[in-house]
Amino acid sequence: MGRPVAIIGSGQTYHGRRFDVTYPELVKEAVDALFEKTGISPDDIEGVVSGTMPSMMEGVALTHFYFAEVLRSVGKPIMKTETCGSTGISLAFTGYYWVASGMADLVLVVGSEKMNEGDSQATMTTVVEPFYQRYFIAGAPGVFSMQCQEWSTRFGIPEEKVREAATRITIDHHNDAFDNPYAHIKKRLTPEEVNNARIITYPIRLWDVCPNSDGACAMIFASEEMVKKYGLKPAWVKGVGYSGEEYWFGDSEKAIWQCAIDAAKQAYNMAGITNPRKELDVAEVYNPFTYQEMLYYECFGFCDFGEACDLVLKGVFSREGELPCDPSGGTLCTNPIGATGLNRVAEAALQVTGQAGDHQIPGAKLSLAHAMGGVDQYNGVMILGSKK
C-alpha cells in the first residue's frame, strides 16, 4: 500500500496555560524543538500540513495563514486539514498519504491549540446545528455522559463498578503524567478525592474530564530514502484507519460504536494485526473522558464488550499490565485539541523508537495511536512499528 513511510522525529511544547507566549510563538516552540532534535533543516522540508480546531475556537480563521512563518512554510506547498477533535490524527494521515503517494519525501505536520484564549465548550456547542441539537448538547461532557450511560446500561455494568474503574484510570493517568515532561495536569489523586469531586454532567465528575491545554506538536513524515539519509530512528507507519458516522447524535449507536470498530479494523488489516491485545505493546488511546477510554478498549478489540471495567480493575491496561494504555497520561491530562491526536501519534512513535524516557514501555515494538472527533462521530487509528 503505497511507499513505506516513517515518522523520524517529533517536537512537543510544554502544555498548560501558556500565557507566556502568543499563539504563533507556541507553534514555533514545537516546530523549533523538532528541527533542533532531528537536525533536519527547514529548507529540506517539501510540504507542510497544518491544522487546528475551527475558527470559533481560534479567534482566527484559516490559521495556516497566520502561522505561515512559524511553520517555516513560506514558499512551500501546504495543506490545511481539519476534522474537529480528530484533527490531530487526520493531520498525521495527511502527512502519511502525501509521502506514501510519492508526491513528497519529507513532510512537516503541525497541530496546535491555545485553548485558554478561547472557549472550548462554547465552540463545541456550535458544532451542532442551531435547530435541534444545539439546545440540548451543551459542550462535550453532555455528549460523553450520554454515551457513557448508553454503554453501561447496555452491558448491565453496575454504576459502582463503572465508577471504581474510572477512578482507577484517572488516578493511574495522573500519576503517569509525572513521567511525561510535556504533560499538563500532574496530580497524586486519592479515590476519595475522585469519587467526591463535583459532578460535571452526571455521572461524569471533575477528574473524569480532560483539561483545556495550550500546546502544539510537530512531526516529520519521511520516505525510506529520507530515513536512510538522516539516520534517525524511524517509527514506521504500519496501518491507518478512519471512519465517520451520522451527524445526528440520536441516530447512531455509541456503545457498539461502528466508526471506532471500523477505524481499528482498517488499521489492523493493513498492519496484519489479528489479536491486538497480544500483538500491540502499547496504545495511546484518545481519552478525554475516563469512561470513553474503556469503551475504546472494547471497540478496538482489546477485550470483549462489557468486559473493560473488570480488566481495568485487574490492571491489564496499566503501565505494568499486558497492554499499557496512555503511559503519557493521555488526553485526560493534556488536551490541546488541534494537537491532541498528533500528540498520541508522537507518543506512540516515541515508544517504538525507545525514546519515551521515564514513561517508556520497555521493548515496545508495535504501538497504536488514536483520536476522536465530530459530534462523537469520527475515529482514527494509526499503527506504528519499529520495523518496516
Partner: protein, 380 residues
Amino acid sequence: MTNRVGIVEVAMTSGAETKDYFLDQVFKISKEVLDKSGITRDDVGTVISASSDVFHGGMSCANSYYWDAGAAFLKNGSRQDGESLFAFIYAVMRILTGNYDTALVLGVCKGSENPENDVLTHFFTDPFYQRQMGLNETIAAALQKREYMDRFGITEEQCAGVVVKNLKNALGNPYAHVKKKVDLDEVLASEVVMDPLKSMECAPKSEGIIAMVLAKEELAKKLTDKPVWFKGYGSSIDGFYLGDRDLLEGELPNAAKRAYDAAGIKDPRKEIDVAEVCEPYAFQEMLWCEDLGFCGRGEGGKLLESGATAADGDIPVNPSGGVLAMNPYVSRGLYRLAEGFLQIRGQAGERQLDKQVNTALAHSTHGFAGQCHAVAIIGS
C-alpha cells in the same frame, strides 16, 4: 508516479443563492455524481471534502454536518479547510498510494447562509495588529491593485476589460451566478467600494456545492470513455503580514512551476489550451496570468487587450466566467477544475471552446492578496 488518476464525472449546483436545505443540496449533488459515474455509494473508497468553518453558516467543524449527506457514512475520509483544490489533490494522493480505487471529492459552501464574504475574511487577520485596522480580503486586494497600477501602468480600463470578458463568457454558463451583459463604461462607472476597486470588479457571494469522482487508471477507463487525467499539481504559501510581502511578487510562480514540472510543461502559453484562474478581483486575473507564465511581468494588461485570453484567443482564460461570475469561496477551486474537465471532454455546451482542448489549468487562491495558491493541470 506509477499509476494515473482520472476524473470520471462532476456534478455541481449553480451559483445562485437558494433557500434549498443545505443537507439536501449536498446529498443531491453527491448522488448525482455517483449516478453519472455509474457507481453506488458502496463503491466509493474515500471521501475528501473541502469547506471552511468560517464560511459555514455559523457552524463549527464544518464536515461533521454534511458527513453522511455527502456519502461518507462509515467511510474513511478527511477534509481540507479553506480551499477545495486542496481536497482534490488530497484525494489524488490517496488513490496514488493504492489504498483506494475511487474517491469522492466535495466542495461545500452555501453562500446564502453566510454573511458578506468580507465579514468572514476579516477573521483571517491576527487579533493584535491587522484586526484593529479592519483589514479584509477586499482591502488587501485594493492595496495590491494600486501597486499593480503604479508599478506597471495597468489601467482602470484594462481591469474593467476583465469584467466585460468574463461576464460575457458567463452568459453561456448555466452554473454562473452573475449573468449580465456589461460594457466597459458600466464597469468603470460602478461605485468605488475600496479605492481603487469598483463594485463590478469584485466577485459576488455565491452558493457552490460541487462533487467529483476520481478513480485509478484502470477503473477510470472502465467507468467512462473519456477520463480526464491528473497531470500535475503545485501549491505555495506566502508570509502572513502584508507589509512584509511584495504583493506583486507572490507565490504563484512557485506553485505553477511545481505543477508544470510534474506535468512536463515547458511552455505554458503554448501547451495549455484553457486556463481557469481564480480572480475574485478583476485585476488579479491579469496578475495571475503573468505569474502563470502566459506573458511577461507587467504585461497582463496587454495580454488581455490582445484578445489572447478571450474565448477565441490562443490562451482562453475563464471561459466559465470565472469567479467574477460565481464566487462560492471555498468551492471555487473545484469549479475551476470542473470547467477544465468539461472543456476537455467537449461538454461545455454553449461556451465550449472552438478548438481541441487537451490540457487545462485550474488555479485557486485564498488569503489576502493571494497568500496561498494552488495549481492543478489535467489533460486528455
